[in-house]
């Protein structure tokens, strides 16, 4: 990592009792066995970026197969039906559990929480290290599962039994248990990390950092961690039972032997739907930080955003069965879950409106992070609005398991996992690595990403409306689906994906060259208020030369009667 050697010499001896011995650690201790929250954040970030490349490669392979069935895919080869199922299954698994979670929550949670609340580390630094190590182990187990005999798990990322519970159906006797083990390990890693986050924010805030002065992104990560903690437990238990079904011959999910396959759907979605908000809320928090800084305005209705986020979290536990409208649930239950699902769109819409109100009348600067933040709102809006159709049981019965669903959740997850992450990376890059990113390349990357995303998923809405079922290997086998119009939509989506992937190299180039040769960043290049910008860029071990005291909220921009249009949280006056 690009911590320049000179930074060590300049690093002021701080009152926290940290001596320079910390900086003489060897490579292993500094980068791989570190207990420093910033380094652990980087570990999560780079692991997540690596997994994103793998997940993107999988998407490329199966989308090429859909556009050009049977053709040999450049860089992959021919995609067999079992390959195809393995690719879609693990694309979904990787993008949600090994990209969105580690980058948005773990990487930025680790990096930002201690800096933003004004302390020197997490309350449990070694537990934090353990959390990453378990996460790394889970990633390795998942990667191994692709290379075992019969290949990786191919029962879809939702792993519905009985397809997922018996090797006779899913045909991957080794891949399936390894996949399940990897997911379970990943859950444990994030449980440990989440407990650490929540405890840190509760107990280790700087003096004066009252609850209503905590930056919104920290609140969002805390709420997300609690949501995760409260929702993942039943699925951990359910995953153990599924593992027993797979390898020990139990029949918990097997209807032929008194089991109940629907039990898994309940356990999975009881976790799975809150999980959407587990990743959405941190992204929303990141956007809140960025739009206030680049609109030079106070966040409109801080408390409303906070209470809205908490309400979203609570309601998210009562919507899960909207994934099961076609699973034979009682229509009266379907009514209830339709209503709760429509209700949950209200707080999210409220948040978007609050952000728009923050922008109105602001002195907006269209920097790269600001473009990403605005792009997030626009793209997520499409995802949110199309969700209304799927949350209503009447229309969902038609749309269920079509590409409409695929397009819908990609319009939610792509903004969350990628647009949100790019916003965060471009915004905090100066603080993380002490150097500025190239704005021109950043803007090229932004437009090269945001336009192709629409090019991928807008056609898929149409394909879904026309009835394209997801998880089909080749539509050429179905005369109704093989029509030229539908195939053109699929080809357009695939070409857009290739364009999208090509533009990611611009990002990688920008990231690496800025890391090595970018202009040095000052302490506070964006003139922001939150505490992380009062530390050195990059912050040394121990973060602050003098532990800060907080005097005001995080969004005091453009206050009348002051020389500067910002007012750092720790400035005495």
């Amino acid at each position: 990592m690009a911590e320049p050697a000179t930074a060590h010499a300049q690093h002021p001896h701080n009152g926290a009792g940290h001596d320079h011995a910390h900086h003489d650690e060897g490579f292993f201790k500094k980068y791989l066995w570190s207990t420093d929250h910033k380094m652990i954040g980087f570990q999560y970030l780079f692991t997540g970026m690596l997994m994103a490349i793998i997940g993107g490669y999988f998407a490329y392979a199966f989308r090429m197969q859909l556009a050009y069935p049977g053709a040999s895919v450049p860089g992959y080869g021919a995609v067999s039906p079992s390959d195809y199922l393995m690719l879609v299954t693990n694309h979904g698994t990787i993008m949600i559990f090994w990209v969105a979670m580690p980058v948005l929550i773990a990487a930025f949670g680790n990096f930002l929480i201690p800096l933003m609340i004004g302390c020197d580390d997490m309350v449990f630094p070694r537990l934090n290290r353990l959390s990453y190590q378990l996460f790394l182990l889970s990633a390795i187990v998942l990667l191994i599962s692709f290379f075992v005999p019969n290949g990786g798990f191919s029962g879809a990322w939702t792993a519905y039994p009985p397809l997922s519970s018996q090797a006779a159906y899913h045909l991957t006797p080794l891949g399936a248990p390894l996949w399940l083990l990897a997911v379970a390990l990943e859950f444990v890693a994030f449980l440990i990390g989440g407990i650490n986050f929540v405890t840190t924010v509760m107990n280790s805030r700087a003096p004066g950092m009252t609850p209503m002065r905590i930056p919104m992104v920290v609140w969002m990560i805390v709420i997300a961690s609690i949501l995760f903690m409260a929702s993942v437990g039943p699925l951990v238990a359910g995953a153990v039972l599924l593992l027993f079904d797979q390898v020990l011959g139990t029949h918990v999910y097997d209807p032929n032997h008194g089991g109940d396959p629907l039990l898994w759907q309940h356990l999975f979605w009881f976790f799975g739907h809150p999980e959407v908000y587990v990743v959405l809320l941190p992204a929303m928090g990141i956007v809140a930080e960025i739009i206030t800084v680049f609109a030079r305005k106070k966040l409109f209705a801080y408390k409303t955003v906070l209470y809205t986020a908490i309400a979203t979290g609570i309601i998210s536990f009562f919507v899960w069965a909207h994934h099961q409208f076609v699973a034979g649930i009682d229509p009266r239950m379907a009514n209830i879950f339709t209503v709760t699902t429509l209700i949950i769109s209200i707080p999210i819409a409220e948040m978007v409106f609050v952000y728009l109100a923050t922008l109105i009348g602001g002195s907006i600067r269209f920097t790269t992070p600001m473009l990403w933040a605005l792009g997030f709102l626009g793209a997520f809006l499409i995802g949110g609005v199309t969700g209304i159709f799927l949350g209503s049981s009447g229309s969902d019965i038609y749309f269920h398991d079509t590409y409409f669903v695929v397009a819908h959740f990609h319009f939610t997850f792509f903004p969350i996992a990628f647009i949100g992450s790019f916003a965060a990376i471009t915004y905090w890059f100066p603080k993380m690595f002490g150097r500025m990113m190239n704005e021109t390349l950043g803007k090229i990357h932004f437009w090269g990403t945001i336009l192709p995303v629409n090019g991928i998923f807008l056609p898929l809405f149409l394909a879904g409306l026309a009835g394209d079922h997801r998880r089909i290997y080749s539509y050429m086998n179905f005369p109704d689906s093989a029509k030229p119009f539908l195939q053109d939509l699929r080809i357009m989506a695939t070409i857009s994906l290739c364009v999208l992937i090509a533009f990611q190299f611009v990002f990688l180039y920008n990231f690496i060259t800025s890391l090595l040769r970018g202009p040095k960043a000052s302490k506070n290049p964006w003139n922001a208020n939150t505490l992380e910008w009062t530390a050195e860029s990059p912050p040394p071990h121990g973060n602050f030369a003098e532990m800060p005291t907080v005097h005001r909220g995080p969004y005091e921009y453009g206050m009348p009667g002051r020389d500067q249009d910002f007012w750092p949280q720790n400035a005495a006056n």
């Binding site: 840190t200 437990g233 039943p234 918990v252 039990l263």
Partner: protein, 190 residues
Amino acid sequence: MQKPIATTRSMAGLPTGRLAVWWVIASEIVIFGGLLVSYIMHRLGHPEWGGYASHTNTWAGAFNTLVLLSSSLAAVLAHQAAEHGDGKKAASLLRLTCLGGLLFLCVKGFEWSHEIHQGFVLSTNGFWSFYYTAAGLHALHVIAGMIIMLVVSADAAKGRELQRVELIGIYWHFVDIVWIFLFPLLYIAK
């Protein structure tokens, strides 16, 4: 590794360790909660499971309940000793708690070997799957608690980290309470 300042602050008014233990327990509650609710829903749908449950040894289960609850008394006394700064006494009381856990596991081993000999194994039917999974997960928690307790007592005997005596006690009470739910659900309801 030096202790960060973060570990010494207490904005919420609770010691950090105790706060974290409560969060651990919160996450454990939903794990066991999910498992037990799944079991109860199955149980309601399968009246015949009552017949399978009649093969469990209620007296052994009752004895284990007594053992586990009594061991918690020693954990409470250990906490009291730690409060008074008596690390040696706290350590020996924690080891006594561990003995309770060991006795619990021995009875469990006796029960399970008897049941397995009778042909009731994990894959026999749904009831036995849940029986072994739920009780096994609980037993893993007992074992984990015992290991942590031995580590804590080794420190406490030297007068170090005495606050941890309370923390492992809270966890041990939680393990008790889970058993109080498991015992009627798996042994008494027939």
